[in-house]
């Protein structure tokens, strides 16, 4: 018996119920707001560590790595920005203090940047100039104009901290603004009774953080101030502007890296007695390979087919040697073509393969489970509680497939592992470090497998055959849209309105690519509107 549809993955059933299929095309006839006026819940979101570093860098010139000193964001549903999960502690407050002080001191010492913000030199101590600095910097940091009593409060902090000189006061007031809730959180004006369009500054904040992973720039704030964001054309013009920048590519990498469970790759290690070519430099190089690949995909045609099947990657001489590939021309990482009978996008990159493997052996279970859970949004049920779960012992005389034979021999295992292992076996040409192999356990590799319970079922032989099926799957596109929805809105999908939104996003992805889907997102009611406060 299949135990499906856990509470987390109710999407397919809801999609059917809502009659909002993934095959509809987004067309000009669509009536704004898209997908009903019910935008779904909008819990208070916090600026993530990723967003904080980038935003502080934009605002003050500190390196984005400044946010590495913060406690990690709580991760759930695969992402770092899920509002239901975050917590706060005195360690957070202390880390925010440290980051804000460093950012404040850095900005206060940067005459060029100060002049660009204030239009004068606030460290000269002229009170009008200090006021214009507070006004201008506050607008950027708090993503809206400061109210008059906020200006007064910040002016007071300047006065209190301008000791021994004005530049200390500038550093002080910046440090205060960067620890305030208007910076660290995303408070939005509440709606009393009905869902209503967000006010423009809140919309600009959503837009910028969604598309660039950083706070709004001056041009976007100006568009909010002028009313340009009130029209769909104005909103889309800003969207298209932001999507062309490198920030958007980085955001795409950030989301995809989490979706593909690759954020811990730089800390990976392997049993080096078994994998002798694995060095301290390997995991970082594998992560860089995937970063470059995803960036390249974003700049080209970032659809599911490209991500899943493109037989290209990026290697430098060391990584080429690790893989057994010829060294690329030129220095540093270069884009190289791979054998399409072996290679298929991220699925055959060392980052993915090594992450979804054990330190000393491959894991058809981890690889198969990833495909089920993260690409098909159809995770296998957990093992029965009375089973002792463990990977088989490494035995150099046996192939992986032989060592995992218990999963088919034992009926209690077989029903669920039949959903994972036959997918995972298709990866068997790639060892636990992510390198191609022809021999496993003294025997020629058998990379045959089977994909079942999907819209693209069929026999598999090697990763490209799996990738080709997945690349054409509506279910995979729907799953990708679901993952994006969770990141974009920082929450689980819960309502029929959400299901409709995901259906629209799926259509956009299938008819275009990720860029199309991101562009479609900002048109949705869930993005442009805010629900009324829940009655107590």
């Amino acid at each position: 018996m299949r135990r499906r549809c856990s509470a987390l993955f109710v999407l397919p059933a809801l999609l059917a119920a809502a009659g909002c299929g993934g095959d509809q095309q987004v067309s000009k006839e669509d009536i704004y707001p898209l997908c009903s006026s019910d935008p779904g819940p909008a819990p208070l979101r916090r600026i993530t560590r990723f967003e904080l570093g980038r935003t502080l860098s934009d605002l003050t010139g500190v390196p984005a790595s400044i946010s590495d000193g913060l406690p990690p964001d709580e991760k759930t549903l695969g992402f770092d920005d899920i509002a239901a999960a975050y917590s706060v502690s005195s360690l957070h407050a202390a880390a925010y203090l440290d980051a804000a002080e460093l950012a404040g001191a850095t900005l206060a010492a940067d005459a060029v940047r100060l002049a660009a913000v204030a239009g004068c030199d606030p460290t000269a101590g002229d009170s009008a100039c200090v006021s214009s600095f507070i006004d201008a910097f506050g607008r950027r940091a708090w993503r809206r104009p400061l109210e008059s009593d906020e200006l007064e409060a910040m002016q007071q902090i300047y006065t209190d901290t301008a000791d021994p000189g004005p530049s200390d006061g500038i550093a002080g007031v910046v440090a205060a603004m960067l620890q305030s809730p208007q910076f660290l959180y995303r408070p939005e004006p509440t709606m009393a009774t009905d869902s209503q369009p967000l006010e423009p500054y809140a919309l600009a904040t959503r837009l910028s953080l969604l598309l660039t992973g950083a706070g709004p720039d001056d041009a976007l704030l100006a568009a909010a101030a002028s009313g340009a964001l009130d029209s769909e054309n104005g909103l889309l013009a800003q969207t298209d502007r932001l999507l062309t920048g490198s920030r958007a590519a980085e955001l795409f990498v950030h989301v995809a890296t989490q979706w593909w469970e690759l954020d811990a790759v730089p800390a990976l290690d392997k049993d080096r007695a078994l994998y002798r070519t694995w060095t301290d430099a390997t995991p970082g190089a594998l992560a860089e390979e995937t970063r470059l690949y995803l960036t390249d995909a974003w700049q080209g045609t970032p659809n599911m087919k490209t991500l899943l099947t493109a037989p290209v990657t990026f290697v430098d001489a060391n990584l080429a040697s690790f893989y057994g590939l010829p060294a690329p021309g030129g220095t540093g990482f270069q884009r190289v073509d791979l054998d399409p009978t072996r290679a298929a996008g991220v699925l055959t990159q060392g980052s993915f393969l090594a992450e979804h493997a054990k330190a000393d052996q491959t894991s058809p279970v981890l690889r198969g489970k990833f495909v089920r859970a993260n690409l098909l949004c159809d995770p296998p049920p957990p093992p029965p509680p009375d089973i002792v779960v463990m990977p088989p012992t490494v035995d150099p005389r046996l192939s992986t497939r032989q060592r995992f034979a218990q999963h088919t021999a034992d009926q209690r295992c077989a029903s669920c592992h039949a959903e994972m292992d036959p997918i995972g076996f298709a990866f068997e040409h790639y060892d636990a470090a992510g390198r191609w192999r022809d021999i496993d356990g003294g025997q020629p590799v058998d990379a045959s497998g089977m994909l079942t319970g999907t819209d693209v079922d069929g026999a598999l032989d090697g990763v490209p055959s799996l990738a080709t099926r997945l690349g054409g799957s509506a279910q995979v596109a729907g799953c990708a849209a679901t993952q994006w929805f969770r990141y974009a809105f920082g929450r689980q999908e819960v309502s029929t309105g959400d299901v409709c939104t995901i259906g629209r996003l799926t259509s956009a992805l299938r008819s275009g690519d990720f860029r199309t889907m991101v562009r479609a997102t900002v048109r949705m009611a869930a993005f442009r509107n805010r629900p009324p406060e829940a009655s107590p």
Binding site: A85, V88, L91, G172, K358
Partner: protein, 449 residues
Amino acid sequence: MSRHPGRPLSRRTILRGLGGAAIALPWLEAMAPRRARAATGATKRFIVMFSANGTIPSAWTPTPGTADTDFTLSPILSPLEPHKADLVVVSGLEQKGGGGDGHQTGMGGMLTGQMLNAGPFAGVGAAPAGWPMGPSVDQRIAEGLAVPTKLRSLELGVQVGSADNWGRMIYRAANQPLPPDDDPASVYARVFSDLHTDPAVLARLRRRRQSILDGVGAQFTRISGRVGSADRQRLDAHLTAVREIESRLTTDLVVNNPSCKDPVVTPVSAGANDSFPAVGALQMDLLVMALACDITRVASLQWSRSVSQTRFSWLNITEGHHDLSHRPDDDAGAVDKLTRINNWYATQLAGLINRLKTTPDGAGGMLFDNTVVLWCNELAKGNTHGRVGAPYVLAGSAGGALRTGRFVRYDGQGLPHNNLLVSILNLMDVPDRTFGKPDWCTGPLTGLL
């Protein structure tokens, strides 16, 4: 909004003023009236040490003798032999918990004696769970301390991984995890800044920070009033955290212990698997120094996290710890490796005890004399996720409050570990009669103290 008047001069300030360096001088009563010891007793301290994935009960359980003082340490606990007279090994309790998968339940209930709330973290074969419904025992102790310390408590870790309920054990209150800092360099910078900052600079920094944090607090209050009630709770929790770091500014660090010195932190790659022992050693150094300096009296050290996949390469073990912990009882190789892993953790505890025993207390004697260390684990056994018979080791007598040198067995009595947590509260002079989920706890353990 509060403005803080100038604080009394700290002893260190005076020492710096006299010669720049920290020199041992007789305690001057007048300098720190707030720090006066309670007439009734010494400065007690409490430390939690955590290691993961259950133990091998047959290799952990001591061999009992005719009395609870008559026992032979087990293979896992053998590194503690030099400290045997200072231990209380406790067996047979059920580590209560609920909600989430086995590891989540165990980790969340271990120090709180509470269920997990429903929440966002989806475990294996269980409804998604959140954070526990109440505070951890160390935080109750911190709350009960008569004298405020610079840090209310100090949470340290070694490669604790991602932020979720598998990786958190200390809770300020329901739904308020306190993340351990697992980077010694960051611990050094934040916890010991008073010891390596010029007093004049420090005084100016305090004034600045008070102004800034006052303003920040006012903004939190302002924005909190504009959001919905659920969101308001988030902002109010943040404001509490801001107030807490503000109170650190106004709590002078008064050094009355010559063994308090600015620690030296050697650079280490805090996240690298093979650095695990080195990071742990540094964290233990810092933890003990924080106690010696009386920066805090409540501390914890979290080695990795539940479901730890640490690879004990320095013991020639290549598999991840959690993978090994799922091997069946008849896998002799795995049992041997897990025994050695747990034995290694016992060695670390012995190292922590050694540090405490060799670091003088400012009031005389050694830090260890007035300390209790609790070593705990989220599970009893990794391959079943069982929590009956979870392994507890107490070390130190808390100034004679605990009769040590004993192996105390509660096997077969069906007692909840909440009772142990209450007893620990009592040891630390918190007179509570219950802790955690009320219908689990039946009062302090009979015969423990």
